[in-house]
């Protein structure tokens, strides 16, 4: 009886989820249609719906808000310019993520491998309100050093690593976003990880930061 109820409950929640997804899909299609007619209110609405997610992804890839205004602008301008090409096969958010990843890729390629990370994270923004000052400082320094190592990676490897390890996306999704095979993506992530581990071996702060991460 209990099992039957659980199954019914699961089916019900699946149905709700499906309906929600379908509603979101219809809403996206309608919003895109409005954008295509050049309606400024629709443009604003689409930007507001997706800006937080796109910004978070770009921030995790780049490690700072430097040039973020230009990148966000460029990403969304490209989204709007290519909106006619969205065939509603993938969800709108996945498609927008793909466009923004391409923008980030171009930016990283243009910038080259340079050590230019200047993290602007303030103490307050580091999670864990119960952290001691020393641990908070360690977190800040660790993040800085991690991105300093990432600055030395190529654009593709950096994207694969940051999207998978830091943004927490599955490998298959990352592969789809960067437009390569899962195997190639996996290899890039592995190489980046090796590089970071090598750097961590020589850098106690980075090592401790990564160990904290492992512990967490």
């Amino acid at each position: 009886m209990t099992t039957a109820r659980a199954v019914t409950g699961e089916a019900f929640s699946c149905t709700i989820e499906a309906v929600t997804v379908a509603a979101a899909y219809v809403e996206d299609v309608m919003l895109v249609d409005r954008c295509l007619t050049g309606e400024p209110a629709a443009t604003r609405e689409l930007f507001r719906r997706h800006r937080v997610r796109v910004h978070a992804s770009l921030f995790r890839v780049l490690g700072s808000n430097r040039d973020m205004d230009d990148l966000l602008q460029e990403a969304f301008i490209q989204v709007f310019q290519s909106l006619r090409g969205w065939r509603a096969e993938a969800s709108l958010s996945t498609w927008i993520d793909r466009v923004s990843v391409r923008v980030a890729y171009r930016y990283l390629s243009r910038r080259g491998r340079q050590v230019a990370t200047d993290l602007l994270i303030d103490d307050e923004s580091v999670p864990g309100g119960d952290l001691t000052d020393a641990r908070r400082q360690l977190a800040r320094d660790g993040v800085k050093r991690l991105y300093a190592v990432l600055d030395e990676l190529g654009a593709a490897a950096r994207l694969a690593f940051t999207l998978h390890e830091i943004d927490g996306r599955p490998l298959a999704e990352v592969a789809e976003l960067v437009g390569s095979s899962v195997t190639a993506t996996k290899l890039r992530v592995w190489r980046a990880r090796k590089k970071i581990e090598t750097a961590a071996a020589a850098d106690p702060v980075l090592r401790e930061f990564l160990a904290e991460g492992m512990a967490a």
């Binding site: 205004d69 969304f76 991690l146 830091i166 927490g168 991460g213």
Partner: protein, 380 residues
């Protein structure tokens, strides 16, 4: 290696997001097509385009001179008051807008527009076209525009006055050439003279108080009896007031403003170079894919070139306003604000000039320009 959610995202503040949103909406509206033409309309549009192209080629091949008589309703108003050609008052001829109380003939060829003024007053706003010159003949004087807004008065005989609001005109009379730039005027009597001097209210000198007594006493003695002593009162002689000087109280201040060089100005010589450069810069500034710093630099440089050498002050101010709205934190913001001060204060120190200076002094708190801005703000 578990780093997910370990690296916090520093949120952008609302102001930055609003700026980005605004730029996106502008960028999208610039590149969104008005409508998608349907297939049926494409053929019609193609046909019309072919006809128009053939007509254009025919027109280019045959440089026929067209002479037309334009009669203007005697009604005086300033250019830019919102009227258009539909009421028959303002006339547009290939990039030039004419208005005023004059009657004139227009002779037009593909490379030249000639206006033969009989008499009257004419306001012109001309968009500079390096491939087409616009020349006005008034009596024995020839006035050639170099992309500008100006005003011509001709009494039909020999007195001509040209007032240049923006840009530059070249006046030729009896073999002598004078170039009159914005803020200046040229008359047959004075030659080139500052507009402020020509149009300024004349300062009347008070006559010498000793030479003009309040009452003149004249004594008259009549010798016939009975003898009377008559005292007559004669109204005092008041000499005609005479003009002794025209005063620009802010001359020193305006000289000081001009002495501060414009920062980050592009090195350009000549009008055609400037026009070409502006066309290039516009592509950078208005492209939706251009990054902020490049676009802001291009926008500022457009404003500088419109101001000098083109002398299109109002266009330059519009561009600066656009700069302010699009690039609130731009690298050239202070330079742009100073350029606004310079343009607003170029003719006189008025309310607009003081407002520009006030904005500047609040942004830039030290330096020579800031000191001048404070002095401008303090004028009344």
């Amino acid at each position: 290696m578990k780093l997910a959610n370990k690296i916090p995202v520093e949120q952008l503040d609302e102001e930055r997001l609003t700026n980005i949103e605004r730029r996106i909406v502008i960028g999208v509206s610039e590149c969104t097509p008005e409508h998608v033409p349907r297939r049926g309309f494409v053929f019609a549009a193609g046909g019309m385009l072919a006809v128009a192209t053939a007509a254009l080629i025919g027109w280019k091949l045959h440089t026929v001179t067209v002479v037309e008589q334009v009669a203007i309703t005697p009604q005086h108003f300033a250019v830019g008051d919102g009227r258009d050609g539909r009421d028959g008052v303002k006339v547009s001829i290939d990039g030039a807008t004419l208005a005023g109380t004059a009657s004139y003939d227009v002779t037009r060829t593909p490379t030249r527009i000639e206006i033969q003024m009989q008499r009257g007053s004419l306001e012109l706003a001309v968009i500079h076209d390096p491939h087409r010159s616009l020349v006005i003949h008034a009596g024995d004087t020839e006035i050639e525009d170099i992309g500008t807004k100006f005003h011509v008065d001709f009494d039909g005989a020999s007195t001509i006055a040209v007032r240049v609001a923006e840009g530059e005109v070249q006046v030729t009379r009896r073999g002598r050439v004078a170039r009159v730039s914005a803020g200046n005027a040229w008359t047959t009597e004075t030659g080139t003279v500052a507009l402020a001097v020509l149009d300024a209210p004349k300062v009347i000198a008070a006559a010498d108080p000793v030479a003009v007594p309040a009452v003149t006493h004249v004594s008259v003695v009549v010798r016939q009896p009975p003898i009377h002593h008559v005292e007559a009162v004669v109204p005092p002689h008041v000499p005609e007031p005479r003009v002794v000087a025209t005063i620009d109280p802010y001359l020193e201040l305006r000289t000081a403003i001009r002495s501060v060089p414009l920062e980050l100005a592009p090195a350009i010589d000549g009008h055609s170079d400037a026009a070409t450069e502006i066309a290039k810069l516009k592509k950078i500034a208005y492209s939706p894919t251009t990054l902020g710093p490049e676009a802001s630099a291009a926008t500022y440089q457009i404003a500088v070139l419109l101001y000098r050498p083109l002398g299109q002050d109002s266009e330059a101010l519009n561009t600066l306003e656009m700069y302010r709205r699009r690039f609130a934190g731009g690298k050239e913001l202070h330079a742009a604000q100073w350029l606004r001060v310079r343009i607003e204060c170029s003719h006189t120190v008025d309310e607009a000039c003081r407002r520009a200076a006030y904005s500047y002094q609040h942004e830039v708190t030290s330096g020579r320009a800031s000191d001048i801005a404070i002095r401008i703000t303090n004028t009344q």
